[in-house]
Structures are given as structure tokens and as C-alpha cells.
């Protein structure tokens, strides 16, 4: 619906806070497992403004969860270009790369997550750490890395 460089959100005067409030309702549905409603909310919001990191990231998470990896990756790339400092898209991409057995990709993304959260304070980053622990477990059980005490 954009007729110029401004988003429709800006044209009709919706604040970023309002968009994030509506997205929070989508997040509630998402966490309740009501994915259709969550998706409908996120997809509506992206029509209002496709340049908001949080909405791109929400759709990235949704498509990662339902394993539509190609669509997820489009939103992940867009989210990272809008805000390279947030861990969420990297964690989702790591999950996709585990599914694809792309270890190089997994290591790169988890490394980024750990660099962005060096003090282990971000709960989102802990999912990436869980993946790392899982990989580590596979390695140690195969005997390729010695267990540490």
C-alpha cells in the first residue's frame, strides 16, 4: 500500500509502540500455541511496515517453528539487516542449519549469539547454548572431544 517512501504505518499515523503492542498480542497467541492467530497478526503488521525488526523477527520465528525454512530465512536475513545486535534471528537460523546439517552455519550463528550475550543474561541466547550443548554431547559420545570435569 506504500505510495511513497513512507510506510503505511507512518502515512496513517500508527506509532511504533502501538505496532509492538499488537505484536505482543500475537506473541501471546504464539506462546499459547495458537499459531494461526499469531501468524495473522504478524502478517497484518508487516503490511503496515516491513521495516520493523521485531515484526520480521516474529515471522522468522513463526516460519522456523512450522519448518517452512525458506520463508523463515527470508525474514531472518531481513531482520538481521535491520538489527544485527539482537540474538533471536541468529538462534532461529542455527536451528534451521541443524535441520540442514550445515554445521558451519550452526557454529557461525551460535558464535555470534555468544558474542552478543557474553554474560549469559539473555534467555533467548540460552536456546542457542542448548543447541551447542547438544552438539557437544554428540561429539563427546563419539569420542572426538574429551569430556571436561
Amino acid at each position: 500500500m506504500d505510495t511513497n517512501n513512507d510506510s503505511l504505518r507512518e502515512q496513517i499515523g500508527i506509532s511504533l509502540d502501538e505496532i509492538l503492542e499488537i505484536a505482543a498480542i500475537g506473541a501471546i497467541f504464539y506462546r499459547q500455541g495458537n499459531l494461526e492467530k499469531a501468524k495473522d497478526i504478524f502478517e497484518g503488521l508487516i503490511e503496515l511496515d516491513s521495516e520493523i525488526f521485531e515484526i520480521q523477527s516474529c515471522l522468522a520465528s513463526f516460519f522456523t517453528k512450522i519448518r517452512e525454512d525458506e520463508r523463515a530465512l527470508l525474514h531472518i536475513d531481513r531482520a538481521i539487516s535491520l538489527n544485527p545486535e539482537n540474538v533471536a534471528p541468529y538462534v532461529n537460523r542455527a536451528e534451521i542449519n541443524i535441520r540442514r546439517l550445515n554445521l558451519e552455519g550452526v557454529i557461525a550463528d551460535i558464535s555470534t549469539v555468544i558474542k552478543l550475550d557474553p554474560k549469559i543474561r539473555n534467555p533467548d541466547a540460552n536456546r542457542a547454548r542448548t543447541m551447542l550443548l547438544g552438539i557437544y554431547d554428540v561429539f563427546t559420545k563419539k569420542g572426538w572431544i574429551k569430556k571436561t570435569s
Partner: protein
């Protein structure tokens, strides 16, 4: 399963070793230890059997939204009606199929959010009324 997996993992690794492990993994993939990289790929063939711990944690999947306390939403449901009316007007004035389809998606999002806020408002008023009458009252009474 996720909890069990984590507890096992925490027995064998301490968080301070993670940076080392990432370095080890990265080194093995940058050609410094090419034979290890080959082995790593073979090991990864085992990984699909272990992916369940990721699925089990998916309810915690990060969305990238700002952290907020509880489920409190301060948005007014009347504001959503206002937004929907404006979107309808803009789309109606334009009238092209593409714009109307986009408007439909926005209106659907507003409608779902509006219903959620209405339900929450009803629940909160009912809850407050029951609290004042009888703290043990059943919500469906």
C-alpha cells in the same frame, strides 16, 4: 526430555568451556584441522535423532520482541477500531486488488487483536467482581 538433556549436558560441560568449544568447532571448519571437519560432518549425520530437545524447547522460541512484564497490553481496543477504519478508507480510495488484499491482512490482524482485548476486558471485570464478592468464587459461576 529437554530438561533431562540439559542436566546431562551440564554434567559434562561447564559454561566457561563453551567459548573453547566454539573455537574448536570453528577451527575445525576453517581448514586448520581439515580431517576433523570431515569427521564433524559424519558426526552430524547422527544429529536428526537428537533434534527432539530443540522441538521441546520451541515454546520458548525467541520472537525478538522487547521483554515485558506478564501479558499486560496497554493498547486501547478503540484505537484498533480507529486504525481499521483508516486502513479501510485508504484501501477503498486506492481500490486496486493488491492494495485491497494487503488491507484485508491488516484488518484481520486488527480484528483478532481487538477480540483479544475485548475478551481480556471481560475477564478482568468478571474476575474483579468475583474477587470482591468471594475470593474462592468460580469464574464460570
Amino acid at each position: 526430555m529437554a530438561g533431562e538433556y540439559l542436566s546431562i549436558a551440564f554434567e559434562i560441560i561447564d559454561l566457561s568451556n563453551m567459548a573453547w568449544m566454539v573455537t574448536q568447532g570453528a577451527d575445525s571448519l576453517t581448514g586448520k584441522h581439515q580431517p576433523i571437519a570431515e569427521t564433524v560432518r559424519k558426526i552430524m549425520d547422527d544429529f536428526p535423532d537428537r533434534i527432539d530437545f530443540i522441538d521441546n524447547s520451541s515454546t520458548l522460541q525467541p520472537l525478538g520482541l522487547p521483554v515485558r512484564k506478564g501479558n499486560n497490553i496497554s493498547l486501547d481496543k478503540n484505537r484498533l477500531v480507529e486504525i481499521a477504519k483508516t486502513v479501510k478508507k485508504v484501501a477503498g480510495d486506492d481500490g486496486t486488488k493488491n492494495v485491497l488484499m494487503k488491507a484485508n491482512r491488516i484488518l484481520k490482524a486488527c480484528s483478532i487483536a481487538n477480540t483479544y482485548l475485548k475478551n481480556m476486558e471481560f475477564f478482568e471485570s468478571r474476575s474483579a467482581a468475583l474477587d470482591s464478592a468471594n475470593p474462592f468464587g468460580n469464574f464460570m459461576a
